[in-house]
Symmetry: C2
Subunit: 204 residues, 2 copies
């Protein structure tokens, strides 16, 4: 039987949970993924490590949830629904709006430093890489799949295209510039990507 | 005055140089970039570390040249000119051919293991990241810029497009799938990217 917590204890839990997220993100940004430990997160958050193990199975689980929480926060701060892409009927405008929020997030140090540490570890630690993609990135990409499907139904995207590949034409360039410092990131840049991807490089 | 080496000593140098490249790539794949040292490379290559310092300033310099050499080798093995994109007049075919060679290279463990180690370090070590992009990646991207410019002159790509951004529509998706394991990599996939990028997602 699961005991329903009293309101006071639930507020306390919520505070602990947030302190643990903050500690996990800060630590991974400072010392990297391999040296981040559940003990270290607990000490920094001011909780016992049993508190962490009561809620999560491993440091990877804590971190992945901390990132999910951070992304949802960023969307709310930008005045958008977390986990949604608007559908105003104007595909280009909707994609540009979402990508602009992503640009802001990628440039925000609260997000950038821990994200780089996690991405770097994911490159050489295939299991963590696949897990963080499955839990953090792929659900976001599926929102683009849904938006492109609805555009296909509206006749704005060619019906024979695979939306899971199509989205990569504007999502992956931004990801590569951010990951590898291959070029500057700006609203103008992501707007251009959307225009090039929808219109194509060949003359019409 | 620079002394021209006798043929024998030049052959010996070439052998040492290759042994050093092989040792550097193997080590960085095995222990990662931070733990790879000039001493370790020298020991594994069976040369003195002064031999390495005679030719290169740092372990980063050795590694970047080793990667350049490896890429040139891969292109030659695939029957292509290193550092060139063919211009047969058929833009789609030329881009597909080059991307297929890249697919082979990304899946080749000789290339994959050390490349991941370098890319992972580049994510958190901004100086190394920027240096390896400038020396390894950007020169390759410039070949696409040249090919797209020639396609613009031939009327096959819209003249107002920025080729440096346009190339990212088919190069970056492949890079992201490889870097982050976000999806499988195949000839069919890169062919599809070229078709989507040239034709655009919107109906014509």
């Amino acid at each position: 039987m699961v005991k329903k917590p009293a309101p006071d204890s639930s507020r306390r839990s919520e505070r602990s949970r947030r302190a643990i997220y903050d500690a996990a993100l800060a630590l991974v940004g400072e010392v990297g993924y391999p040296k981040t430990t559940v003990e270290g997160i607990a000490a920094r958050a001011g909780v016992g490590k049993q508190t962490i193990y009561r809620w999560w199975g491993s440091k990877a689980d804590v971190l992945l949830e901390a990132f999910l929480d951070l992304s949802a926060q960023a969307a709310r701060e930008a005045g958008q629904e977390p986990y949604a892409i608007p559908d105003t009927g104007d595909l280009a405008a909707d994609l540009k709006a979402v990508l602009r929020v992503t640009v802001d997030q990628l440039k925000d140090p609260r997000f950038e430093v821990p994200s780089r540490a996690l991405a770097a570890e994911g490159l050489v630690n295939e299991q963590l890489g696949r897990e963080s993609v499955a839990k953090l990135l792929e659900p976001q990409l599926q929102l683009y799949v849904d938006r492109l499907r609805s555009a296909q139904e509206a006749g704005q995207v060619r019906p024979e295209l695979d939306p899971r590949i199509a989205l990569e034409l504007f999502v992956s360039p931004l990801a590569q510039r951010w990951l590898q410092h291959t070029g500057p990131i700006s609203y103008e840049y992501t707007d251009t990507l959307v225009d090039y991807a929808l219109g194509g490089l060949a003359p019409r």
